[in-house]
Symmetry: D3
Subunit: 255 residues, 6 copies
């Protein structure tokens, strides 16, 4: 039993509130335990300068934390006048991950802007962000389909993310909260599709190392977590999830 | 009747959720109609460099909007690398206003950081921010008193803010939402104490002017609105409101 | 009698030097006591990007102080690499105020750049800036009329600004210098037309409050000060003042 | 056979020039095929502010490319005034990786600055940087030991990095050059010790995904590459490599 | 005869107004023809961090132009958020030049801040700045001597600056105005002491070259100009000039 | 004999490696003693915005030092977020100097980007940069001629740069290394053509002065040094040097 009573392979309580903010095309408040992130998706009818005329769309993400999302107040990046390396890494990761399950040609020359704003942090903000951003993005694209601007929903699979790690006491564990994350020997973020394909894998031993055996145990835990998160996503998406599932079946034939 | 069915002297629906975020010393989600602001107050046990050794406290505020708080996505100030003039004006205003009802000597060499983050905007974000920040700050100071770090609650009066304006169709109106604000001939923000004293007055005729008679009508409306907002504040503060009211009585004798 | 021998309703010595710098289309050195500001107006034959094609003009202002305009040397904003909140507030205020007395459609797709550079400061730099900027702008527009580029002078009224405040010893006072400003309980800047219409009102009680009665007394003082400043403006403008006065008469019929 | 004649499991030609620049405590020019990186290590006798008094050392890295290291000239980050997300990711990665094989307590309150400057780029600049930085760092620490400032060389194992990927034509391949990297479906950077322990794993499917089977094949290739790179490191370090090897033996007993 | 009626070896009209601004320790408005620069000197009772404890003083300079000092409005460097290369060159030059005639040990651990603000530009702004800054600095140091804070005036010689150039029509000419500067084949700034010693020489052939013979002719002109400027400086300094002259005599014995 | 055994009029050992980096159109590693600079020239087929349509080319330069090019590690300008005054001066100087020997009309609407990156510094980095940049630029332009994009090589003369100075012990000396530069009373950089024409002259007495006699002695030394550097350039350029020499002969007739 971990310090908060969870088993090593147990996710924290997951909660998803759809349409949390009224203005964005897609909006979700996602909760992983005490970690809460507002994920908003906006559609812009053009692509960045360097992609014009290619007939393809683009997905870009921004990530931020409120100063008191954390226990100690952090200085705003707007006050510092620059974005930290950590923030840049996370927002590049979110965009790259989502692009793996969107058919950018079907999207057409549009940009999807993903905004992940952490209002309360307790570890796993990047995995909650990706998991929530997938829903916000799908909701926004669903509106394009309903509005007749897109013929098909250009989503090829579900996408979710979860953290795994190696803990001194419990060995490999799933979905680390802040306390676990601070003391873990190894920290790994796994982004996967519902079919178990890896989209991104980032494992780090801060002042430590890990074996391939530990890697495999962590991946096993991650697969379980991802399956569970995808179930939550399906529930939140409702009817839209039927379209995603159909898209997946079609691909089996073509890929 | 205004476009949303309100009378000229009617506030929008006000809602206040206490302890919205778990980490800050004081936290409130305040709602004026469709405008929603997270107001967090943090206490730091030191003052800025230029005030050290004076035995007085300081209050400073930061204000920000999520990119999709608005109908059109706005670029993050952290991405632009600098804070806009509008943001600076608002955060200076919030800090200055709160300092008018705090006894900074009683506060001692501490800084209160106020963070107002607009998650959804529909006009009046600065007045909602000030009204909510007062509550968050009082909650945070109440914890200091309860924890024995402060002998008295250094709040001298309630403080709330509301907008008033001159509308082409309806004349002077109270608590403008975004549509009203966009077409108003005059826009004025009034910050007052519960005793009807003015703390700050900012009236602007953008490409227009206004008479002293119009000014007086707007101030009459503002006084009504402030009284109503203070009632909401008292309710949210619960027992702490008794201490504020006692503080006010004591001052009558001394001032 | 105030510390410098003035009555409570008395302006400091006002002095206006036309054509102080040779290059700008309109240039004035304005003096309020020991406060000296160079106000230059430049005309650019296009408007900012966001206004193109609307057939309207724009007025924008920049404000700065020489490092030794003040008693203690201040760091240049160019060295700090960013503009302070105070500077932004003032330059937004100057631009907004001037736009209230210019017919932007008559101006056509032109931008008027106002530069207010304080070479010596002793309180009231923003009110001196606005009062001087009105003259510099009118001189510049007068040249456009004389050069046949504009059919009519697009100025609808005189515009001047003055500070008022509440002093512990003397109560409400007009046109505060630096010493008075530093110790005032309330500080208010009033921008008015020659017809007594308010353009902007910014009253602040720093760590203090003020009553509506005090507000009214301050506005009475401000009206007197504005009338006197407008007389100085008329004298400086010479023949151009006849055109402004005619413009005002015409409006009476149309407005 | 790949387009440059290599087998799928073959590294490019590796070349290491010691003491390439005279001023740094440790300096190496490392070459992976046409990729050339100057790796310099500097020792500073203090740690960053946030670590003072802990009795531990710190390792930090900076990475940059000359504008014409690439085929198209890139704009300098000093000209842009900010560091790109890519650069930040790489320099954080280099520092984190090196910290995994240094005993920071043995290092004492010192900072090792690693500078990796790419003078010619053809893919794999980050893996060449890490592999070369390990040597430069060990050379610099060797000087501390020789100079009597350190009792033991605080290096616990060899550390090298290599890229692996999935190619449409050849499947899993080792040490991708620029052309291979541009068209790869999956790109993964593996950082390992000589004992086969993972320090960092970053696998990315840009607009694609990968299976756990592919992951394992890539890791097998990486292990071979790392072994070969460590041999090059040993040769470059000469006598110092004996000390590192001894350190490794001692750990077997203690860990 | 040049286009403005001057001979090739003739300075423009020089005018010096002492104590132009009231706050600085030393203040001068210097005029070279239509070029006008406010030169202010401030004394700070400490030196920059890197010089503390050496018992020596420091002199640093800042230079700026009002946006409409020029015929076309220039963008403020505070708006651009960075200082141009041209401004940096000029302010480094002013500081370096002044340091050549100040005994920094006699000055003690103080910083002299020189601010040169061009309010109207017509060529030669850097030479006017240096010539005026010398006077402002000497006035400020004179106050320190009079106030008993310094025993001796730490000025070792007069210092002035003038431009010379090669003109297509008139050959070598002295003190170029803007029109001459724009079309000159060679532009050279010469900074000299009253004794004819060179402090700084910067000659540039923009898209052109010059011979050593032309260099010598230009230096002859410059020497004449410097002598004349020093006479203006002596007149402006009044009694202080006697002390400078005495300082120069003493050095003859010691150097 | 100087501290490194050289005579006062002797250059350090000069070495030039052509095609040091493979990507740029022209690339050189130039060595002056222990000073080593990579000079790369890139050709872009357009000119900056402000020059379009004039039918002329442009040359611009950037200069940087690796952090450990120096004995003490220097902070990267990309980390500081701004370019120092020293760097700006040097890169403006390099560009200006090269433009003096290029026929910009013959170049056509192209930009030559010069990148000088100091990998090891021991005094004279700017003179080595200019001398090497001339070669890199000529190599790049030679490729344009060979590729048929240019009819003639638009180089009008050789261009080299060298430092001279006044040393307390040895008087006037040529090509100062770091130790000599640090203690020199006067430091002067001379940029000349092979025909002995001056392109740029920058002499500085930091906290000191110099006479015209000293200036002439320094220029005599510089001329010798330039002649020798041009011989090295000719050797490096090989056949291209024949074309430059022919260009010079043609000019004699036309100029």
């Amino acid at each position: 039993m971990r310090h908060d009573g969870r088993r090593v392979n147990q996710l924290r309580k997951i909660d998803i509130v759809k349409d949390f903010v009224i203005h964005p095309e897609g909006s979700v408040l996602i909760t992983f335990g005490e970690t809460k992130v507002i994920c908003n998706a906006s559609i812009e009818d053009r692509v960045p300068h360097f992609m014009r005329g290619e007939g393809k769309g683009w997905i870009t993400a921004e990530y931020s934390m409120l100063p008191r999302a954390t226990n100690q107040r952090t200085v705003r990046e707007s006050s510092k006048g620059k974005i930290s390396g950590r923030t840049m890494e996370i927002q590049r990761l979110i965009g790259r991950a989502l692009r793996a399950v969107v058919d950018l040609k079907e999207l057409g020359e549009r940009t999807i802007w993903i905004d992940c704003d952490v209002i309360q942090a307790d570890g796993g903000t990047r995995t909650a962000s990706i998991t929530g951003a997938f829903i916000a993005m799908t909701l926004a694209l669903g509106k394009l389909v309903n509005g007749g601007k897109l013929k098909v929903l250009p989503i090829t699979d579900y996408l979710a993310a979860v953290s795994v790690g190696v803990d001194k006491e419990h060995g490999e564990i799933l979905d680390l909260n802040y306390i676990e994350d601070s003391s873990a020997q190894v920290d790994m973020n796994v982004i996967m599709t519902s079919q178990g394909n890896l989209v991104e894998l980032q494992g780090t031993g801060e002042e430590s190392t890990f074996t391939r055996q530990q890697l495999n145990s962590m991946l096993d835990l991650a697969e379980q977590g991802i399956q569970s998160l995808v179930e939550h996503q399906k529930e939140a998406l409702g009817d839209l999830s039927l379209i995603v599932s159909e898209n997946m079946k079609k691909q089996v034939g073509t890929k």
